[in-house]
Symmetry: C2
Subunit: 304 residues, 2 copies
């Protein structure tokens, strides 16, 4: 099971009635936070998922509304009794950014492992088994979209195991993914498993224009969380100038990427009620949802 | 008239039900903010005093809970149409701090004038006429207390003006503080004014143990805003270790400094309801008040 919590839905600046856009995922008891603007730790406290088990923080880019909460959050994670290393992933400049921001939180009881993204696309595998893919996108400073993938191995197939002549005492080890060498023979996990089954996928694209590679990047996501800075199609010029998206552009991506559902987020402070403009997205992609602070969902594997 | 707004009352970390300790003052249409932790701009928006007219930001010290909101606030001031310079006053290291934090808010439409405090005590006069005094206090990093003073000149005294033989056409100019040279004679404002009258004074002491000079520093304040990290006298050892104050220690200062009223603030996250411990302060200084987020007061000159 993968839990998703959209902590906030605001862009540019935090408002009394809307926290800054950021997303918390939880899998295997460990959490991944994407973006951390001013106040993210406050709404995170409301989510009641704790702070200690954040395994990684993924930063899309280094505008204040996406990173200014980092030093305070690191201190709060420290106060939670955290001692294990924390991973922070982000575009080039990450080392400098973290050094600068932690000038006000210099002593932390845990280490920080920085992964500075070098290429336009790639992936990292976290300890909780989540595969983090990233893709360079189109904002006015270097910016990345992320997708979080949980692969699911095939079902155990005893018939196949027998056919391969694998001694029964190795079956459970192979099922757990171990490679067994015995009496000159090598047994691989795939020799006892059926075909890989559908996993889970959540994609997060914010602070970008739609780009050519994005539909492939988000393809078949169970939840696609996408910025919708402007609701009205009339704001296209502004969206192009500021390198953001319209609701309708996000919906076009959702359609092209064949996602199951789309949550809009990162609303301009000028949008009082995103629902007002939601039809501009639904017309193109029916399963468009206007994100709300603390909106949560649990994804489960679809077959057993 | 001097308006005071206690924006938040929390210490260490921002909580969903308590913003971080900071104080906004307004005089002559201009504002002075003391400290700016994570979320200060959010509660400031709730206060509805605007952002454009912040003349100065005074920082007590550089722990995250007092400064982490700075880059976001500067951007928000920028978005308010501000073009005039902004003054930031703080302990040694201010230049480095501001350079580091503004790595995420690099382009601002106004200049920043930094006043890095060099001495243990001193003062600055702001453009709105407020005299900012500062005093080095006792925390685990360099830290200053501030007092904000508005002087009030004496009443216009026509009898004195006549006695000095000052032509009537100069009276109003002298009253406004101008120096007049006429026909070889020099007329000074004090030649038409009675004795200086009682002004207004607000003092803010946070993140410090009580110190020897503090009672004099806050002397006769109309409002003394003081940290009360711990409510119970039994926490003295912890207060000494962490370099903070008990409610009762703050109250002793209020008594020694002969202030009119004391507002307690900067409560430990472990204090759910500061009122519970308020008697520990009131026993020593009766006019002790447990601060609340967005608690405001307007001070007026006492005679006309």
């Amino acid at each position: 099971m993968l839990d998703i919590c959209l902590l906030g839905t605001g862009g540019m600046m935090p408002l009394p009635e809307r926290w800054l856009s950021s997303v918390l995922l939880r899998y295997n008891g460990k959490m991944i936070l994407t973006d951390c603007g001013e106040g993210t730790q406050i709404i995170m406290r409301k989510a009641e998922w704790g702070f200690k088990e954040i395994e990684a923080i993924c930063l899309t880019h280094y505008h204040a509304d996406h990173v200014s909460g980092l030093p305070g959050l690191l201190l709060t994670i420290g106060n939670s009794g955290r001692e294990e290393n924390l991973v922070i992933i982000g575009p080039k400049g990450l080392k400098n950014l973290v050094e600068c921001l932690t000038v006000i939180s210099p002593q932390l009881p845990f280490g920080i492992e920085l992964i500075e993204i070098e290429n336009n696309k790639g992936c990292e595998i976290l300890q909780n088994g989540v595969i983090v893919e990233y893709l360079s996108v189109d904002h006015n400073i270097p910016c990345f979209s992320y997708s979080f993938n949980i692969k699911r191995q095939g079902k155990f197939d005893p018939e196949r195991a027998k056919k391969e002549g694998i001694p029964q005492r190795f079956w459970s080890m192979l099922q757990r993914g171990e490679i067994i060498k015995d009496d000159g023979r090598t047994f691989l996990p795939e020799m006892v498993l059926g075909e890989e089954r559908k996993g889970l996928k959540v994609s997060i694209c914010t602070d970008t224009r739609p780009t050519l590679g994005m539909a492939d990047f988000i393809r078949d996501s169970d939840v696609f969380i996408c910025e919708g800075m402007y609701g009205e199609d009339e704001k296209l010029e502004k969206a192009i100038e500021k390198k953001h998206m319209l609701f309708s552009e996000a919906a076009k991506l959702a359609t092209d990427g064949n996602v199951k559902e789309m949550w809009l987020t990162h609303f301009s402070p000028s949008i009082k009620d995103p629902e007002e403009y939601l039809d501009n997205a639904k017309r193109i992609f029916n399963n468009s949802i206007a994100g709300k602070d603390l909106m949560c969902k649990t994804l489960s594997f679809t077959d057993s």
